[in-house]
Symmetry: C2
Subunit: 360 residues, 2 copies
């Protein structure tokens, strides 16, 4: 019987945290839960800590609603301890990816991606050497407006945007999924996680969300990871890695699903993805600015102060203005990332009235 693996769960009461707890609960002999943290829900955290036998439960009251920046410091600390970090949030890699991966490498930390698309790529990469990779492809559900004409997308309401066809997620990710910004952020993550050049990263729309990611090798072989859309699959992969554990996730039944479809993303109707690709190519402070401006834009859209097509417009305007406020270089520290974040949020707030007033 091997020693139990010590687990610390940051953000334990969220959706990914709950799925993780579900898996830990099923195999208490194998996992020793050291600490659980949550941002707000102290009662749920206490319940979870008792249930999982956690030694510590920490409620981190974060003053500003900086989801991204809030996660950056503790995750970076884990990487600096040389831990195996199963990364479920985008912000570490989008806001400070180079910094994070550099510190992780320097301290011998292993970074495992929890996100279904990146986890799929991580799994598929085991079939070959990185020199033999031609490109990797992240799949996208296409969101609820995949088939909507451009003029209808302009009139999309908050209620419509909050309905995701496949995954049940928080409002921020759901809106990002509707604009396809989500996939843009994931491209930036993939760039850092897998140390691949922007032109080796692609997106393919796949509405059924069964094929989560693909790796194309130079010989023409494409290795893909498929699975029922159940986050316990990629989470379990990280928990048990480098081996695998049983999960209660529904088994994939391709004959029942009958058909998997694929199409190129439409960058005209979904400009957020095009913006993210430009940001990925530009590098420097742009990814951090993109992330912050998008957080502001989505918040303003959900609050009813910005139209759906105002989201990419506000992000684009913020990106254009950020260099003049000094946000040009890639952040070399958490403080620098927070500083760029601060500049970008200020700019986005300043630009909001003008963009909100524009007809897209």
């Amino acid at each position: 019987m091997p020693l139990p693996r010590t687990v610390t769960l940051l953000g334990a009461t969220g959706s990914i945290g709950s799925s993780t707890a579900d898996l830990l609960r099923r195999d208490p002999a194998r996992y020793a839960v050291e600490a659980v943290t949550a941002h707000r829900d102290a009662a749920a955290l206490a319940r979870l800590a008792r249930e999982l036998g956690a030694r510590f439960a920490v409620v981190a009251w974060v003053m500003a609603a900086i989801t991204g920046a809030a996660s950056l410091a503790p995750t970076l600390a884990a990487a600096e301890r040389g831990a195996t970090v199963a990364l479920a949030n985008k912000e570490c890699l989008v806001c400070a990816g180079a910094l994070f991966m550099r510190r992780a490498a320097a301290n011998g930390a292993t970074v495992l991606p929890v996100d279904s698309e990146h986890n799929a790529i991580f799994q598929a990469l085991s079939a070959g050497r990185r020199e033999d990779i031609r490109r990797i492809v992240l799949t996208a559900s296409g969101g609820p407006f995949r088939t909507l004409p451009a003029d209808a997308i302009r009139r999309v309401t908050v209620e419509q945007a909050l309905k995701h066809p496949t995954w049940s997620m928080g409002p921020k990710v759901t809106i990002d999924s509707a604009t396809l910004m989500n996939k843009g952020l994931e491209l930036i993550e993939a760039h850092h996680l897998f140390a691949l050049a922007p032109d080796a990263l692609d997106v393919l729309v796949h509405p059924q969300s069964i094929v989560h990611g693909l790796v194309e090798f130079r010989d023409g072989s494409v290795i893909a990871q498929l699975g029922s859309p159940d986050m316990r699959i990629p989470i379990s992969h990280c928990l048990a890695w480098p081996v695998r554990m049983g999960t209660p996730a529904p088994r994939l039944n391709l004959a029942q699903i009958a058909s998997l479809s694929f199409e190129e993303p439409d960058l005209t109707r979904f400009p957020a993805l095009a913006i993210a690709r430009q940001v990925l190519a530009a590098g420097g402070a742009a990814p951090t600015v993109l992330n912050s401006a998008n957080e502001v834009a989505v918040h303003e859209f959900v609050s009813g102060r910005l139209g759906f097509c105002g989201i990419p417009a506000l992000v684009e305007a913020t990106l254009a203005a950020a260099p003049r406020r000094g946000a040009t270089d890639e952040p070399g520290s958490v403080e620098e990332a927070l500083h760029i974040d601060h500049i970008a949020r200020g700019l986005a707030a300043d630009l909001l009235p003008e963009i909100a007033a524009m007809a897209c």
Copy 2:
């Protein structure tokens, strides 16, 4: 610059041989061709030998048309030398799989599957340990009669059966593909190649032949290999293994293909697959008998002496009668395999008139 890899090509003028030669020709510095062999076409073999700079060219005139048995001895000899054997024919594994894999293991030989489905599984297996495998799935195009009603299948002509929707292959494999016996033989191969129990092996009909094989792990992850239907992809995988080489195979464009479909195989309309599954479970001499009886049946069908539905009927009758002629035990040597083959062929010939006269 690493030393060139020494290659001996058995069956160099066939379809797989030609595709292999195409790849070798592109990278002459990397591969030193030791010998090429063919069964009949001496002129083509001589041309190929000069082109590839082969040291030896051998025409093996095989008296009986025992494709399977003909390949058994030289392939087994290669395995016994401890070579890396890229296996493109089914017969070694179907007729004498346990023997072949045992000898290969004892002599430190590496067996690489060239067949697109098995090569796909081989690639996908790198994503996990064998203890974590739930099952593997071989895909089948479904053949030209996939959507044909049962009564129409009964009246299928040789011309209709020789038209394969995706792959261009020899008549034997094309007919096997139309009866789905091909997939049954591949299940038996997979059982030996991957040392998996019959209930961990499945078949899924996938008409586009883009997903070649899938491995389902216990956590719910499914790893698949996809690619354009071009044999140079799996061949190159074997040639370059454990690394990968560039190939001129068309790149997979899923957006252009647009849709991949999947369905369960229909064992009522395609009884050959059901027979093969029973044979796989039975073991002993049954797989060898199956292979020989099927070779006879296909030959008789192509010659116009047996109806399409007579193929599985003749195989089934031969399997039922074989134990009474002493064909019961798994062959422990090439000689024993040849002996079972001989019994089965004799039996099939004896049973032919009766089966051919039956209305299916």
